[in-house]
Amino acid sequence: MSKRESDDQSLMLRFQEQGDVGAFEQLFARHKAGLYRFILKLSLNTATAEDISQHTWMRLVEVAEAGRYQASAGATFRTYLYTLARNRYFDEYRRDREVVGADSPEAIQHDVPDEQAETPEELYARQQDSDRLDRALRDLPSEQREVVVLWMQGLDLVDVAQITGASWHTVVSRKRYALAKLKRVLGLESVR
C-alpha cells in the first residue's frame, strides 16, 4: 500500500473517530473527480453520474458516522470508494445490464477546473477527443468498459479485480480486448 493510500485511510479514520471535517474535505478533493469520471464513463450519463457520486459520498459519510469503516490491509480507500459506487450503479441503474438513458456524447459536460484553464481551441479539441472516447466506450461490452474505465482512472488491475469481483486474469483479458477495440475505433493503433 502506497503512502498516499495509507494517508487516505488515516484521513478517513480521523473523520470517523474525531469528526475532523478537514480530513474528509481532503479526501473529497482528492477523489471526487476520479470517482465522478469513473461513473460517468461507465454510465455515459451525467445525471446518473451525479446521482451515484453524491450517493456514494453520502454513503461514506454514513459509514463513518456509524463507525463502520475499517482500514484494511487488503483494500485501499479508493478501492472501497469505487466499490461502493460500482455496486450502487449496478443495483440501481443496470439491473437489465444495458446502458439506459445514456446521454449523447455532446450532452456530457466536461467542466474544466480553473487551474487547468485552456484556450477555447484546446478546450474544443479536448471535448472532441472526449466525445470520440465516449462513443467508443458505448460500443464496448459493459464488463470491458468497466475494467478499462477503472484502469483509466489510475487504478491498477489488482484493485480493478477487487472492485469488479472478477479474477485478475479475467480483468487483464477484458482490458486487453477493450483497449484493442478503443485503439481501432479511435484510430490509435500506433499508440503503445
Binding site: F15, Q16, E17, Q18, G19, D20, V21, F24, E25, F28, K32, A33, Y36, R37, L40, K41, T46, A49, E50, S53, Q54, W57, M58, V61, E62, A64, E65, I108, Q109, H110, D111, V112, P113, Q116, R126, D129, S130, R132, L133, V148, W151, M152, Q153, G154, D156, L157, V158, D159, V172, K175, L179, L182, K183, L188, V191, R192
Partner: protein
C-alpha cells in the same frame, strides 16, 4: 507505477492510458459538492458531540463513579470495624478448677468445681499458676471466662 501490475502490461499501455485519461476533464457540479460537504459537516459535528460525550465518560464520569464506589466501600469497612461485634454466643465454656485449689487442701486432687462457684481470688491465683506452669492455652481460656464473670475484679495479693 504500480508494483502489483505486471510491468510488461503496464508499459505496453502507458501511453494509451495517458491519452485516454487526458481526454477527460469532467467534474461533478458545485451543487453535488455542496450537498456532500454539508452532509459531511453535519455528520462531523455529531461525531464530535458523540466523542465528547465518550471523553466525558472516560475522563470524568468513570473516575468520579469509581471514587464514589471506593468511598462507599471504605465507609462500609470503617463502619463495620467501629460497630460493636455481635455478642458472643451464649454458650459459656464449662471450665472447672481443682477442688484442692478452691478449698485449699480439702478434697481429693482429682475433684473439681465449676469456676462459677469458685472464689474469684482463688480462681485468679489458679490462673496465675497456669501461667507460671506454662499452660498458656488453658490460662487464656480461664482468663477470658474470668473477665466475663468478674469484669470489675481487682486483684488483692
Amino acid at each position: 507505477m504500480s508494483e502489483r501490475e505486471p510491468k510488461g502490461e503496464f508499459d505496453a499501455d502507458a501511453e494509451m492510458r495517458t491519452l485516454l485519461g487526458s481526454a477527460d476533464g469532467a467534474a461533478p457540479s458545485s451543487r453535488h459538492d455542496q450537498a456532500v460537504l454539508a452532509s459531511a459537516r453535519a455528520a462531523a459535528s455529531r461525531i464530535r458531540a458523540r466523542s465528547g460525550l465518550e471523553l466525558f465518560r472516560l475522563r470524568i464520569a468513570v473516575p468520579l463513579l469509581a471514587s464514589f464506589a471506593l468511598g462507599a466501600f471504605a465507609a462500609f469497612l470503617l463502619n463495620r470495624s467501629l460497630l460493636p461485634t455481635p455478642a458472643e454466643p451464649a454458650v459459656a465454656e464449662q471450665l472447672r478448677i481443682p477442688l484442692h485449689v478452691a478449698s485449699r487442701d480439702t478434697g481429693a486432687p482429682t475433684d473439681e468445681i465449676p469456676v462459677e462457684q469458685a472464689d474469684p481470688q482463688v480462681w485468679y491465683r489458679y490462673i496465675q499458676e497456669l501461667i507460671y506452669a506454662g499452660d498458656r492455652v488453658q490460662a487464656e481460656r480461664h482468663l477470658r471466662r474470668f473477665n466475663q464473670l468478674h469484669p470489675d475484679f481487682v486483684y488483692r495479693p
